[in-house]
């Protein structure tokens, strides 16, 4: 059974030949594997594809996370990249400005929506622009027969916060201007749906929607249900109807909202280390597959034995049917190669008792 089939069977809730392994290899780690700067990696479609494949080949895990929320970059955008003293500035098509430190992951420094009167002028990004689907097309062409390719769509809540308003302002908006927040979220859901549909057209195997700003440490379950859930659901349902398999990731102790998440239409839920996988399996395991949650801190600085114990705990709690082993979140910058090798090698070998 190859990686693609193994991952796919687990997504369906079936039992593959062994636990699929899918650590969240992010920009800082994958660029290190390739030995290039993170910003070069993010702003060059060919390097990006090369790095993603190189990391998968190096470790032998079962998926590739095509994790760029806006997907590929056009030649014009690449020309617009401005190298400052020790970081790189990249204006995006949604109107926000990204800053990419020479040795870190990208972050929005200037959100697009200065005030809500600009809402009516927001335009849907052009899904057919050249370059957008280039990384996905290339990943599929080169390794799509064997490896599970999972592409990211921007979660409405998180990207409304990060890209459009800035998280601070967005969280205040929720309390003082909820009607505008809903309109913005609805627009962002449409953006995610259009990107997801395009990815499905191109042939992505899975779709990942990460919603960290809706984390359980940040907003209450009630606010989650009012502001994040309806739009996650809108996106997941639409993409499901279009033939897509969606994974949703939210940070923090999401135990209270797992039943909601299981109703979004997502096929699989990714949880961080604050969630007890065994309990999650009992609560929602009959409806969705689970994905997670070896603590990134253990992978970063744990001993070999601690990393193995982390793997065992996950597989013993949730292994068998409908489970994919992953890191609890994106890997720490500087996670030693050796530690990730330990995680992957051991997870491939280990069988649930």
């Amino acid at each position: 059974m190859n990686s693609y089939k193994r991952f796919q069977r687990a997504m369906e809730g079936d039992t593959p030949d062994r636990t699929p392994v899918a650590p969240m290899v992010n920009v800082p780690h994958a660029s290190r594997v390739l030995g290039v700067k993170p910003w070069e990696y993010v702003t060059d479609n060919a390097l990006y594809v090369k790095g993603q494949i190189a990391a998968q080949r190096k470790y032998g895990y079962d998926w590739i996370f095509n994790h760029q929320p806006i997907q590929g970059i056009t030649a014009e955008e690449r020309k617009a990249v401005r190298v400052e003293q020790d970081f790189v500035v990249l204006p995006t098509e949604m109107g926000s400005v990204l800053k990419i430190p020479l040795d870190g992951g990208p972050a929005v420094i200037d959100p697009a929506l200065k005030d809500y009167s600009m809402l009516d002028d927001l335009e849907m990004p052009d899904m057919d622009r050249p370059g957008r689907m280039e990384p996905l097309e290339e990943l599929l062409r080169q390794v799509g027969d064997e490896v599970y390719i999972c592409s990211k769509v921007p979660a409405p809540f998180h990207y409304a916060a990060e890209w459009m308003r800035g998280l601070n302002q967005f969280l205040l908006d929720m309390l003082v201007n909820p009607q505008y927040v809903h309109r913005l979220l609805d627009f962002m859901a449409d953006v995610a749906i259009e990107i997801g549909k395009k990815q499905i057209d191109v042939g992505t195997h899975g779709i990942m929607m990460e919603d960290p700003s809706a984390a359980a440490q940040v907003i209450s379950p009630d606010h989650y249900r009012e502001f994040a859930y309806p739009y996650e659901r809108k996106v997941a349902r639409a993409l499901k109807a279009y033939g897509g398999d969606v994974i949703i990731h939210i940070c923090g102790d999401t135990t209270p909202i797992l039943p909601d998440l299981a109703r979004t239409g997502a096929k699989c839920l990714s949880v961080d280390e604050s969630v007890d996988l065994r309990k999650a399996k009992e609560t929602v395991g009959d409806r969705v597959a689970l994905f997670g949650n070896v603590p990134v801190e253990t992978i970063y600085r744990g001993t070999e034995e601690e990393i193995k114990a982390g793997v065992r705990k996950c597989i013993d709690s949730a292994g068998g049917s409908g489970y994919i082993l992953s890191s609890s979140c994106g890997l720490h910058r500087g996670t030693p190669f050796k530690n990730l090798h330990t995680l992957v090698d051991y997870a491939i070998k280990y069988k649930k008792e």
Binding site: K99, G105, V108, M174, V218, I219, H223, V296, G330, R333
Partner: protein
């Protein structure tokens, strides 16, 4: 106790008229500030009990800041300096400043003299500010797994510049744990804004 209630509720519109009224009736700025601090203390407890989350806490903190802006010209500066001088900031390339702002506002409410350098602060800016202000405590935050280790660079920068001695480093942010804080050479770890106030107060006792 209306002012305290408005801080807890996050009544951004109601707070200023109430303070104006209080001042007109002859209340001192110190007295009104004390009432707002009580409110923030309760907000911290609500946050701890998970009745408040980040949005509610932010709204309360912003409400208090509106009040504090009105009172500041009337408050004596020396008192704040006595309680301790603090600079806080998020490390370079970390753009998450909600927790940081909450910490700064909670500390200000607790009477510290506070300088918030904001997010995405390069080590050299931390050093320049430390030289200029000679703070008792430096609070550094990192929210992302990718930026946590930058905090070590900040502390090492202080060591190299000979600015580490006689100063406490407190770290916080989602990327941290007690162990990681210890490993990178911080003096203390605070997991949220309310804890931060307790930790900072504890450190200031050690200074004396």
């Amino acid at each position: 106790m209306e002012i305290k209630e408005e801080v807890i509720k996050g009544g951004m519109e109601a707070i200023r008229p109430l303070i104006e009224e209080g001042l007109k009736k002859g209340r001192t700025a110190e007295d009104i500030l004390a009432e707002m601090i009580e409110g923030m203390h309760e907000v911290g407890e609500l946050f701890e009990r998970k009745e408040y989350y980040v949005p509610e806490t932010l709204l309360s903190a912003h409400t208090m800041m509106l009040g504090l802006e009105m009172l500041r010209p009337l408050l004596s500066v020396e008192k704040a300096a006595e309680r301790g001088r603090v600079i806080v900031g998020a490390v370079e390339s970390d753009i998450h400043d909600i927790g940081l702002n909450l910490v700064a506002m909670f500390l200000e409410a607790a009477g510290f003299e506070i300088y918030n350098l904001g997010r995405d602060v390069p080590t050299k800016v931390f050093l320049e500010k430390a030289e200029e202000l000679d703070p008792d405590v430096v609070g550094v935050s990192a929210m992302m797994s990718t930026t946590a280790l930058k905090v070590r660079e900040v502390i090492e920068g202080f060591e190299k510049a000979g600015l580490r001695d006689g100063r406490f480093f407190v770290v916080g942010g989602a990327a941290f744990s007690e162990e990681l804080a210890d490993e990178i050479g911080a003096d203390a770890y605070a997991q949220d804004a309310k804890k931060a106030v307790e930790v900072f107060q504890e450190l200031m006792k050690r200074r004396k």
